[in-house]
Subunit: 344 residues, 2 copies
Amino acid sequence: MTTYKEAGVDVEAGDAAVDRIRPLVRDTHTPGVLADIGSFGSFFELDLEGLDRPVLVSSVDGVGTKVKVARRMGRYETIGQDLVNHCVNDIAVCGARPLYFLDYVGVGDLDPDVAEAFVRGFATACKENGCALVGGEMAEMPDVYGDDNFDLVGAITGVVDKEQILDGAAVAPGDVLLGVPSTGIHTNGYTLARSVLLDRYSVDDRPAALDGETVGEALLRVHRSYLATIRALIENSLVHGCAHITGGGLPGNLRRILPDGCAAEVDYAAWERPPVFDLIQREGTVPEDDMRRTFNLGIGLVAAVSPQQAEVARRVCREQGDEVIEIGRVVSTDASAAPSPDAG
Amino acid sequence: MTTYKEAGVDVEAGDAAVDRIRPLVRDTHTPGVLADIGSFGSFFELDLEGLDRPVLVSSVDGVGTKVKVARRMGRYETIGQDLVNHCVNDIAVCGARPLYFLDYVGVGDLDPDVAEAFVRGFATACKENGCALVGGEMAEMPDVYGDDNFDLVGAITGVVDKEQILDGAAVAPGDVLLGVPSTGIHTNGYTLARSVLLDRYSVDDRPAALDGETVGEALLRVHRSYLATIRALIENSLVHGCAHITGGGLPGNLRRILPDGCAAEVDYAAWERPPVFDLIQREGTVPEDDMRRTFNLGIGLVAAVSPQQAEVARRVCREQGDEVIEIGRVVSTDASAAPSPDAG
């Protein structure tokens, strides 16, 4: 096992990968990081200002079989960004500010260039999100991963004041659902996407439908961070709930922020899907329902806002560079239900 | 992907594994867990009592190729305990109390019984350590893990007041090194251990050297937690530094808590090694130096204490059920260094 465990401490001297990784990691450090102490764990001092009742928000996740595309393309940097951004989004939609991130890389054989690329990706995205990369583990396990497989796992910790937790409790019938564009497939649905596209195309092919992009490029597009937009909505008290659209698509993830008695009515014709989704659907003759339950289909984040505030919210998002789309409404399941046998 | 993401929220209905996992997870919950909110992240409210300057201490780790032994034996519960205890020890030696744990299971094909066994192991060890199991991810990726491989990753978060951080800064020449017994190989050195033992024996063999234990049983012994003993030493102000003996053995890990100018002198004859280490060394004709740099050799935790407090420390450990062994001393590297050309 090669370790770069904690940024502040003894890394294995003479290990080329670790020597190259260290400055990348240090460059992400924010004031909370206690970099010169610790060795078995990573230390982060919590700034309590503005936190009456600090609640830690954490998530652990991977990037699914997008790792296979990275391997096929021989590109290992963006997959690190995918992992960090995915984790950041998962806690940002809870109202949390990300504090720090740790990674785990399981791999058959650790090439120093690949190790550096992974960490460069983690570090790039951590910096963009103001999140410190405080440690990680690289485990070389040829008996598990063989020569050419690997897996990436990220663990993120953020903080939110208890009163500021965003959990969808404020979502109500009539709320407008604002969709924020995704960059592509993000990190979910890769088993289906790969089975359809890589059975028919090589990663270097440029099917007309992709407007000049190669299949590999389309599949490797970076899962973007929504942190800035989510923070702007929260800081302007504009949002009742936010959903990060990952595995399960819009139905599976909107469900997580809908209180009892509420449902989401989504107009799937309200936005134009990125061409990669149409290509997958057409080539794989994938039923529309499967598409909706597998992919984000071009909407990576949904914010539920009151109808009165929808225009302001739209403008706030635009200031962050996001052109949002009204993709639907929250409706009452009671109102739309058929009268029960007991009624009247 | 099957997810049991957050204990408090919508798990995929109808998924047998998830239904069985949920009560196990809930049973670990401590007062800080906010179980009824959240869905994209796990929420833990930090109790600030006694914390003037809270420092979060985190670690991410795996269990190395011990996973291959678990697979070979078809026993999936203790490997989850190994993972939790390893993570707990890593932050406990920093002075932190564990708060919560999240897991990641990457697997080719997720058998519900195996999923339940993993989580039962996580939950058992979390309960024993007073650490909440707040979430996890199970990723089914046959293209990465094949039919019969898997990997486990744990992420732990704990807290320590900044003034109470244990980082070895107080370690000084003359300090006594107290060794606390390991249960066996713990989770490091499995590539070597497997290559020696499983080339020569089946997991069911009982070589005479193992005193009636099978090879598989010896290899799967649970990596124990040292939390209770570490906390007792800390709460009695008895310890200058603690090292968890993992990859790198005693030399690699003692180094992490030794200030500049200090070295450890370890008497490797001071304790009796568990028989599995002798068996590996003999059967594999492994040089002694390699043994020392690969395995814990029977000492899983080392506490550096002042010579005046060694007896009290020994008694405090005994009260926690640990018979500690004086395995060496901290010495000054200056005193033992040859006079420099500039001196005198």
